[in-house]
């Protein structure tokens, strides 16, 4: 297990370097300029000066190497300095967002909490809704409940979040007035009242995303349960006189969860990646909103960094999913 993990880690390094190069080039080659916001009355030479001030006039490969150094040396050094009060970074220049002129990692650091809280909760809620639906759908295959579950999942697949989100706003905020439409990122939970407030403002984005997530995961859960329901060991459990509850919720579920858990783990990077449209719609202003904002403003350092972090997370969680599979399934031997 350990050597397997180490091996996968070793393979991940060249993969990541390659991905970083592709991302760097892609983002760099994409058209668009951070200066599109500047009034049209600003003369060209001033624009040119501003572009130079953004550091965009060096050859692309020089910038790639510099960026790599920033990413793998300077920024971690700042992180360590922040933790231990050391001075590894030695005042070196950090990666700055072109749009906000502040360090990209500081911005991302500010945004991760709300992304994790909102999108993470939505994912969790999605999983918590999906599992029982999937389990019961499989247990009563072809029942009315199962048919309804299929329909629910299909709607979840086919309705874009910008549509369901707006619908929820109109129903729950405008008509019913239950929940606010704008997420207050400054809200600190200190007492019961603010906790309730936090729950209220999370309600709409969590509902929107949770439903979409639940649709997907419930399908996986159902098919995995169906695969296992017909296994011989289920008959053994019944032959031992175990209650249906034990048979389904202990024997079948535990086995069915193995592939589902890895699917869930593979979906976790999307939590960090944020849900671009949902975040934007509700003003959650997490990573997803940062990404779309940066793309619209052609904020190259921000897009590159976010894209690469996302790639790192995907690679990492792929690895974690593999390891989880091994941990959950005693039959798997990696060596």
């Amino acid at each position: 297990m350990l050597t397997f993990t180490l091996r996968r880690l070793l393979v991940a390094i060249p993969t990541l370097l390659f991905i970083s190069l592709v991302i760097f080039l892609l983002v760099d080659l994409a058209p668009g300029s951070p200066l599109s916001d500047i009034p049209l009355t600003v003369p060209p030479d001033v624009r040119q000066r501003m572009i130079e001030a953004l550091g965009a006039d060096q050859p692309v490969f020089v910038r790639y190497v510099l960026w790599l150094r920033q990413f793998f040396w300077v920024e971690p050094a700042y992180l360590l300095d922040g933790w231990f009060g050391t001075n590894l970074a030695n005042g070196e220049q950090r990666i700055l967002s072109w749009q906000a002129r502040s360090p990209v990692f500081t911005i991302i650091g500010e945004r991760i909490p709300q992304t994790l809280i909102v999108i993470g909760t939505a994912y969790l809620v999605g999983v918590l809704i999906a599992l029982p639906i999937g389990i019961y759908s499989a247990y009563r295959q072809y029942s009315a409940f199962d048919q309804f579950g299929t329909l629910f999942a299909m709607i979840g697949f086919s309705v874009p979040t910008f549509f369901s989100g707006t619908l929820f706003i109109i129903i729950f905020a405008v008509w019913l007035g239950w929940f606010p439409t704008k997420y207050d990122t400054q809200l600190e939970v200190t007492d019961w009242a603010s906790f309730v407030e936090q729950l209220r403002q999370m309600a709409l984005p969590v509902m929107t995303l949770g439903l979409a997530n639940a649709a997907v995961i419930s399908r996986y859960m159902r098919s995995s349960m169906l695969d296992n329901m017909t296994q011989d060991y289920v008959r053994t459990a019944r032959a031992k006189g175990m209650t249906e509850r034990t048979v389904v919720l202990k024997h079948v579920l535990r086995n069915s969860m193995i592939p589902v858990v890895t699917v869930i783990a593979l979906g976790i990077p999307s939590i960090f990646g944020g849900a671009i449209i949902t975040e934007n719609l509700f003003g959650v202003n997490g990573i997803g909103a940062a990404l779309i904002g940066a793309i619209h403003a052609s904020d190259l350092p921000m897009v590159q960094t976010l894209a690469f972090i996302f790639a790192v997370l995907i690679v990492t969680f792929n690895l974690i999913a593999d390891i989880l599979y091994g941990l959950l399934d005693p039959r798997i031997r990696y060596d």
């Binding site: 050597t3 070793l10 060596d335």
Partner: protein, 351 residues
Amino acid sequence: MLDARRNALIQVRDLKMYFPIHSGLLRRHTGDVKAVDGVSFDIMEGETLGLVGESGCGKSTVGRAMLRLYEPTAGNVIINGVDVATLGAGALRKARPQMQMVFQDPQASLNPRMTLADIIGEPLNEHTDWDNAKRLARIHELMDAVGLNRRFANRFPHEFSGGQRQRIGIARALALKPKFIVCDEPIAALDVSIQAQVVNLLEDLQDQFGLTYLFISHDLSMVRHIADRVAVMYLGRIAELSPRDDLYARPLHPYAEALLSAVPEPDPTLARRKSRIILKGDVPSPANPPKGCNFCTRCPRVFDRCLTDKPALQEVEPGRFVACHLYSNTQTAGPTRGTEAKEHNQQGVSQ
């Protein structure tokens, strides 16, 4: 070990099939699963050689490696004078028609999405450039030969019973008029009443077309019926190779003896009288076989030398080959000698 009486169609020499084990950080080659570890035998033209052994002993691997479905690690497989173990891809393809295989699971060995005619006709597509009519005629001919109704040519495998499916598999193997067929547990997945049908069919076809069979099975009584000579495998090696009647009447290798004694006797009176040798424990892993004789961990007659030296397969009686130290101190061990050894060792274990 050549049998001069008849012409050896097949000569297998020191066939090895190792599946490498890679482990560690750098995926280094750290060992091998020795599925087949130096197997040699001949099969005479028109003969049926039975290959018996328990699951995991490597008997199926021998069959597959002989037909180059696996790339053998070492050794020669000379079929009709050609060493197929070393042929290049093109030459191998040309050599394929003369050697064919019948598989164990008639369900799994037929593509569920192809019709019977497609399945039987596939070898013809590959190796002939016949037109449709000619091919169809041949398909019908083959269906007649294995006793399938011609009307079923457009049916799918799942529409047939297990026995009929196995007939399809046999027809496919016969399509190119092979000389040699490896029957890899062809009856293991069939019901008792159907097994007999298939075995009879195989025997009829052998007579009709002069086929040579390697009949791989774990069913000792069926092998007794069909095979002329029988090889008993244990953990990748041949323990004993003897003419059928000799083996069943008086097995020489302790493993062969135990194996035969473990077969249930379908006669209550005999069954109750029969004294059985019950082997202890399980077969060791082929990735980590014992240092000495492969059977030494379970052998009721094990002695010191068995733990250190691997016995070679030697002819201890005319036509009888055994790999056991009980017989290895002499090149000309006769039946008496073997019996003595056996008695001696029985005393040895009874302590």
